[in-house]
Amino acid sequence: MFELDIIADTELRTRAIEAAEKLFRKAGSSAIRPKVNGLLQVAVNEPREVASFANKQKERAQSKRDEDEAEFWESVRILCQGGRNAEWFLKKARDEAVPNQLALKPNTPGAKPTKEQEAQKNLKKDREDWEKQWDRDHYPIFFRYFCSHLLYRVSAH
Protein backbone atom coordinates (compact mmCIF):
# COMPACT_ATOMS: atom_id res chain seq x y z
CA MET A 1 0.00 0.00 0.00
CA PHE A 2 2.91 2.33 0.69
CA GLU A 3 3.87 2.19 -2.99
CA LEU A 4 0.31 3.02 -3.99
CA ASP A 5 0.28 5.96 -1.56
CA ILE A 6 3.43 7.32 -3.18
CA ILE A 7 1.99 7.06 -6.69
CA ALA A 8 -1.29 8.54 -5.48
CA ASP A 9 0.36 11.52 -3.82
CA THR A 10 2.63 12.22 -6.79
CA GLU A 11 1.73 11.12 -10.31
CA LEU A 12 -2.01 10.44 -9.91
CA ARG A 13 -2.54 13.70 -8.02
CA THR A 14 -0.58 15.75 -10.58
CA ARG A 15 -2.33 14.13 -13.55
CA ALA A 16 -5.77 14.52 -11.97
CA ILE A 17 -5.21 18.21 -11.24
CA GLU A 18 -3.84 18.83 -14.74
CA ALA A 19 -6.86 17.13 -16.30
CA ALA A 20 -9.33 19.02 -14.11
CA GLU A 21 -7.60 22.31 -14.93
CA LYS A 22 -8.08 21.62 -18.63
CA LEU A 23 -11.71 20.57 -18.31
CA PHE A 24 -13.40 22.64 -15.61
CA ARG A 25 -14.66 25.30 -18.01
CA LYS A 26 -16.48 22.71 -20.09
CA ALA A 27 -17.83 20.97 -17.00
CA GLY A 28 -19.33 24.20 -15.73
CA SER A 29 -21.71 24.60 -18.63
CA SER A 30 -24.67 22.99 -16.85
CA ALA A 31 -25.65 21.45 -13.51
CA ILE A 32 -22.54 19.32 -13.38
CA ARG A 33 -22.24 18.64 -9.63
CA PRO A 34 -24.55 15.61 -9.38
CA LYS A 35 -22.97 14.13 -12.49
CA VAL A 36 -19.45 14.58 -11.15
CA ASN A 37 -20.55 13.00 -7.88
CA GLY A 38 -21.97 10.15 -9.99
CA LEU A 39 -18.65 9.81 -11.76
CA LEU A 40 -16.84 9.50 -8.44
CA GLN A 41 -19.31 6.90 -7.23
CA VAL A 42 -18.77 4.79 -10.34
CA ALA A 43 -14.99 5.17 -10.00
CA VAL A 44 -15.13 3.96 -6.40
CA ASN A 45 -17.67 1.16 -6.81
CA GLU A 46 -17.18 0.00 -10.39
CA PRO A 47 -13.90 1.41 -11.67
CA ARG A 48 -14.06 -0.64 -14.87
CA GLU A 49 -17.34 1.03 -15.80
CA VAL A 50 -16.06 4.62 -15.74
CA ALA A 51 -15.35 4.77 -19.48
CA SER A 52 -18.78 3.44 -20.41
CA PHE A 53 -20.43 5.77 -17.86
CA ALA A 54 -18.62 8.71 -19.48
CA ASN A 55 -19.67 7.51 -22.90
CA LYS A 56 -23.33 7.37 -21.88
CA GLN A 57 -23.11 10.86 -20.40
CA LYS A 58 -21.52 12.05 -23.63
CA GLU A 59 -24.39 10.62 -25.69
CA ARG A 60 -26.94 12.29 -23.41
CA ALA A 61 -25.14 15.61 -23.71
CA GLN A 62 -25.02 15.21 -27.50
CA SER A 63 -28.75 14.53 -27.63
CA LYS A 64 -29.25 17.82 -25.74
CA ARG A 65 -26.81 19.49 -28.14
CA ASP A 66 -24.58 20.49 -25.22
CA GLU A 67 -21.25 20.34 -27.03
CA ASP A 68 -19.16 21.50 -24.08
CA GLU A 69 -20.51 18.81 -21.81
CA ALA A 70 -20.20 16.15 -24.51
CA GLU A 71 -16.57 17.20 -24.94
CA PHE A 72 -16.06 17.00 -21.19
CA TRP A 73 -17.34 13.42 -20.98
CA GLU A 74 -15.35 12.38 -24.04
CA SER A 75 -12.26 13.72 -22.27
CA VAL A 76 -13.14 11.67 -19.18
CA ARG A 77 -13.39 8.59 -21.38
CA ILE A 78 -10.00 9.41 -22.90
CA LEU A 79 -8.54 9.74 -19.39
CA CYS A 80 -9.48 6.08 -18.93
CA GLN A 81 -8.84 4.51 -22.32
CA GLY A 82 -6.76 6.98 -24.29
CA GLY A 83 -7.31 8.41 -27.76
CA ARG A 84 -6.70 11.63 -29.68
CA ASN A 85 -2.96 11.24 -29.09
CA ALA A 86 -3.45 11.54 -25.33
CA GLU A 87 -0.08 11.77 -23.63
CA TRP A 88 -1.26 10.06 -20.43
CA PHE A 89 -4.28 7.93 -19.53
CA LEU A 90 -5.04 5.34 -16.91
CA LYS A 91 -4.84 2.31 -19.21
CA LYS A 92 -1.40 3.43 -20.39
CA ALA A 93 -0.25 3.95 -16.80
CA ARG A 94 -1.50 0.46 -15.99
CA ASP A 95 0.25 -1.12 -18.98
CA GLU A 96 3.50 0.56 -17.98
CA ALA A 97 3.17 -0.79 -14.45
CA VAL A 98 2.72 -4.45 -15.44
CA PRO A 99 5.32 -6.57 -13.63
CA ASN A 100 7.76 -8.40 -15.93
CA GLN A 101 6.53 -11.81 -14.82
CA LEU A 102 3.05 -10.96 -16.18
CA ALA A 103 4.19 -9.81 -19.62
CA LEU A 104 2.30 -11.73 -22.32
CA LYS A 105 3.97 -13.26 -25.36
CA PRO A 106 2.18 -13.04 -28.74
CA ASN A 107 0.22 -16.20 -29.67
CA THR A 108 1.24 -18.33 -32.63
CA PRO A 109 -1.95 -18.75 -34.70
CA GLY A 110 -2.92 -22.35 -35.48
CA ALA A 111 -0.30 -23.87 -33.20
CA LYS A 112 -1.28 -27.06 -31.32
CA PRO A 113 -1.78 -26.73 -27.56
CA THR A 114 1.49 -27.16 -25.78
CA LYS A 115 2.61 -26.84 -22.20
CA GLU A 116 3.87 -23.41 -23.06
CA GLN A 117 0.47 -22.35 -24.38
CA GLU A 118 -1.19 -23.70 -21.26
CA ALA A 119 1.21 -21.66 -19.16
CA GLN A 120 0.41 -18.65 -21.31
CA LYS A 121 -3.31 -19.17 -20.64
CA ASN A 122 -2.69 -19.17 -16.89
CA LEU A 123 -0.50 -16.13 -17.26
CA LYS A 124 -3.29 -14.35 -19.10
CA LYS A 125 -5.67 -15.07 -16.23
CA ASP A 126 -3.13 -13.77 -13.68
CA ARG A 127 -2.63 -10.69 -15.80
CA GLU A 128 -6.37 -10.00 -15.93
CA ASP A 129 -6.63 -10.36 -12.15
CA TRP A 130 -3.71 -8.01 -11.69
CA GLU A 131 -5.29 -5.44 -14.04
CA LYS A 132 -8.60 -5.62 -12.19
CA GLN A 133 -6.82 -5.00 -8.89
CA TRP A 134 -4.82 -2.14 -10.38
CA ASP A 135 -8.06 -0.50 -11.54
CA ARG A 136 -9.70 -1.02 -8.12
CA ASP A 137 -6.70 0.63 -6.45
CA HIS A 138 -6.01 3.52 -8.82
CA TYR A 139 -9.32 4.68 -10.33
CA PRO A 140 -10.93 5.78 -7.05
CA ILE A 141 -7.85 7.80 -6.06
CA PHE A 142 -7.40 9.41 -9.45
CA PHE A 143 -11.08 10.37 -9.75
CA ARG A 144 -11.30 11.55 -6.14
CA TYR A 145 -8.53 14.05 -6.84
CA PHE A 146 -9.95 14.88 -10.27
CA CYS A 147 -13.51 15.46 -9.03
CA SER A 148 -12.51 17.49 -5.97
CA HIS A 149 -10.27 19.77 -8.03
CA LEU A 150 -12.93 20.08 -10.71
CA LEU A 151 -15.70 21.08 -8.29
CA TYR A 152 -13.35 23.46 -6.51
CA ARG A 153 -12.50 25.16 -9.82
CA VAL A 154 -16.11 25.19 -11.00
CA SER A 155 -17.23 26.87 -7.79
CA ALA A 156 -14.40 29.42 -7.95
CA HIS A 157 -15.12 30.08 -11.62
Binding site: F2, I6, D9, R13, L150, Y152, S155, A156
Partner: protein
Protein backbone atom coordinates in the same frame (compact mmCIF):
# COMPACT_ATOMS: atom_id res chain seq x y z
CA UNK B 1 24.81 10.01 2.18
CA UNK B 2 21.03 10.22 2.63
CA UNK B 3 19.64 11.38 5.94
CA UNK B 4 17.48 9.09 8.02
CA UNK B 5 13.77 9.84 8.27
CA UNK B 6 14.22 10.62 11.97
CA UNK B 7 16.77 13.30 11.14
CA UNK B 8 14.54 14.71 8.43
CA UNK B 9 11.60 14.86 10.83
CA UNK B 10 13.78 16.74 13.28
CA UNK B 11 14.61 19.24 10.54
CA UNK B 12 10.94 19.50 9.61
CA UNK B 13 10.13 20.29 13.26
CA UNK B 14 12.76 23.02 13.32
CA UNK B 15 11.16 24.54 10.24
CA UNK B 16 7.67 24.39 11.78
CA UNK B 17 8.97 26.04 14.95
CA UNK B 18 10.48 29.08 13.24
CA UNK B 19 8.76 32.30 14.33
CA UNK B 20 7.66 33.07 10.76
CA UNK B 21 5.87 29.73 10.40
CA UNK B 22 4.37 29.81 13.90
CA UNK B 23 3.00 33.26 13.19
CA UNK B 24 1.43 32.13 9.90
CA UNK B 25 -0.20 29.09 11.49
CA UNK B 26 -1.48 31.16 14.40
CA UNK B 27 -3.02 33.68 12.00
CA UNK B 28 -4.71 30.87 10.12
CA UNK B 29 -6.08 29.42 13.38
CA UNK B 30 -7.50 32.85 14.27
CA UNK B 31 -9.03 33.09 10.80
CA UNK B 32 -10.66 29.72 11.38
CA UNK B 33 -12.25 31.13 14.50
CA UNK B 34 -13.33 34.30 12.68
CA UNK B 35 -14.94 32.33 9.87
CA UNK B 36 -16.34 29.29 11.62
CA UNK B 37 -16.73 30.48 15.21
CA UNK B 38 -17.91 27.72 17.51
CA UNK B 39 -20.91 25.40 17.60
CA UNK B 40 -22.65 26.54 20.78
CA UNK B 41 -19.39 26.91 22.69
CA UNK B 42 -18.05 23.66 21.24
CA UNK B 43 -15.30 23.42 18.65
CA UNK B 44 -16.69 24.03 15.16
CA UNK B 45 -17.46 20.77 13.38
CA UNK B 46 -15.59 22.11 10.34
CA UNK B 47 -12.42 22.55 12.39
CA UNK B 48 -12.86 19.12 13.96
CA UNK B 49 -13.38 17.58 10.52
CA UNK B 50 -10.22 19.18 9.18
CA UNK B 51 -8.20 17.99 12.17
CA UNK B 52 -9.65 14.50 11.87
CA UNK B 53 -8.83 14.21 8.18
CA UNK B 54 -5.28 15.49 8.69
CA UNK B 55 -4.65 13.02 11.48
CA UNK B 56 -6.08 10.04 9.62
CA UNK B 57 -5.04 10.81 6.02
CA UNK B 58 -2.52 8.52 4.34
CA UNK B 59 -1.50 11.19 1.83
CA UNK B 60 -1.33 14.97 1.74
CA UNK B 61 -3.38 14.80 -1.47
CA UNK B 62 -6.33 13.48 0.56
CA UNK B 63 -6.21 16.56 2.79
CA UNK B 64 -6.11 18.86 -0.24
CA UNK B 65 -9.05 16.96 -1.76
CA UNK B 66 -11.03 17.38 1.47
CA UNK B 67 -10.50 21.16 1.43
CA UNK B 68 -11.39 21.38 -2.27
CA UNK B 69 -14.53 19.32 -1.69
CA UNK B 70 -15.61 21.64 1.10
CA UNK B 71 -15.00 24.64 -1.13
CA UNK B 72 -16.74 23.01 -4.08
CA UNK B 73 -20.00 22.21 -2.31
CA UNK B 74 -23.07 23.85 -3.79
CA UNK B 75 -24.43 25.01 -0.44
CA UNK B 76 -22.95 25.82 2.95
CA UNK B 77 -19.44 26.32 1.64
CA UNK B 78 -19.25 30.09 1.99
CA UNK B 79 -16.75 30.08 4.87
CA UNK B 80 -14.66 27.39 3.24
CA UNK B 81 -14.49 29.43 0.06
CA UNK B 82 -13.18 32.35 2.10
CA UNK B 83 -10.52 30.45 4.01
CA UNK B 84 -9.88 27.49 1.69
CA UNK B 85 -7.42 29.19 -0.65
CA UNK B 86 -5.28 30.10 2.31
CA UNK B 87 -5.42 26.52 3.65
CA UNK B 88 -4.45 25.15 0.24
CA UNK B 89 -1.55 27.59 0.09
CA UNK B 90 -0.33 26.36 3.49
CA UNK B 91 -0.55 22.75 2.29
CA UNK B 92 1.30 23.65 -0.89
CA UNK B 93 4.15 25.11 1.16
CA UNK B 94 4.27 21.99 3.35
CA UNK B 95 4.53 19.84 0.23
CA UNK B 96 7.28 22.08 -1.09
CA UNK B 97 9.15 21.86 2.22
CA UNK B 98 9.02 18.05 2.15
CA UNK B 99 10.37 18.15 -1.41
CA UNK B 100 13.24 20.37 -0.26
CA UNK B 101 14.08 18.14 2.68
CA UNK B 102 14.36 14.95 0.65
CA UNK B 103 14.60 13.89 -2.97
CA UNK B 104 13.37 10.41 -2.12
CA UNK B 105 9.61 9.87 -2.51
CA UNK B 106 9.74 7.09 0.07
CA UNK B 107 10.80 9.71 2.63
CA UNK B 108 8.69 12.54 1.25
CA UNK B 109 5.37 10.78 1.82
CA UNK B 110 5.72 10.42 5.63
CA UNK B 111 7.45 13.80 5.81
CA UNK B 112 4.48 15.52 4.18
CA UNK B 113 2.13 13.82 6.62
CA UNK B 114 4.29 14.74 9.59
CA UNK B 115 4.42 18.37 8.50
CA UNK B 116 0.65 18.45 7.99
CA UNK B 117 -0.10 16.87 11.37
CA UNK B 118 2.14 19.28 13.27
CA UNK B 119 0.75 22.16 11.22
CA UNK B 120 -2.85 21.32 12.10
CA UNK B 121 -1.93 20.99 15.76
CA UNK B 122 -0.66 24.57 15.81
CA UNK B 123 -3.57 25.87 13.73
CA UNK B 124 -6.18 24.21 15.93
CA UNK B 125 -4.29 25.36 19.03
CA UNK B 126 -4.55 28.94 17.80
CA UNK B 127 -8.22 28.43 16.97
CA UNK B 128 -8.89 27.15 20.51
CA UNK B 129 -6.99 30.05 22.05
CA UNK B 130 -8.97 32.57 19.98
CA UNK B 131 -12.18 30.79 20.97
CA UNK B 132 -11.27 30.85 24.68
CA UNK B 133 -10.30 34.53 24.55
CA UNK B 134 -13.56 35.40 22.87
CA UNK B 135 -15.59 33.45 25.41
CA UNK B 136 -13.74 35.04 28.35
CA UNK B 137 -14.33 38.50 26.93
CA UNK B 138 -18.00 37.71 26.44
CA UNK B 139 -18.35 36.40 30.00
CA UNK B 140 -16.66 39.56 31.29
CA UNK B 141 -18.98 41.85 29.35
CA UNK B 142 -22.02 39.78 30.44
CA UNK B 143 -20.99 40.24 34.10
CA UNK B 144 -20.60 44.01 33.80
Amino acid sequence: MTESLTDLIRRADLYLDTPAQSERYTELGEDFYNFFGSDQKRVSSQVRNLQQIVVSARRLGDIEAFVKNQMGKATGSQQWRQIGESVLEHLKLLRKKADELSADEVQRLPLRLHLAREWVRTVVGAYLYAKALNEMQKEKSDNV
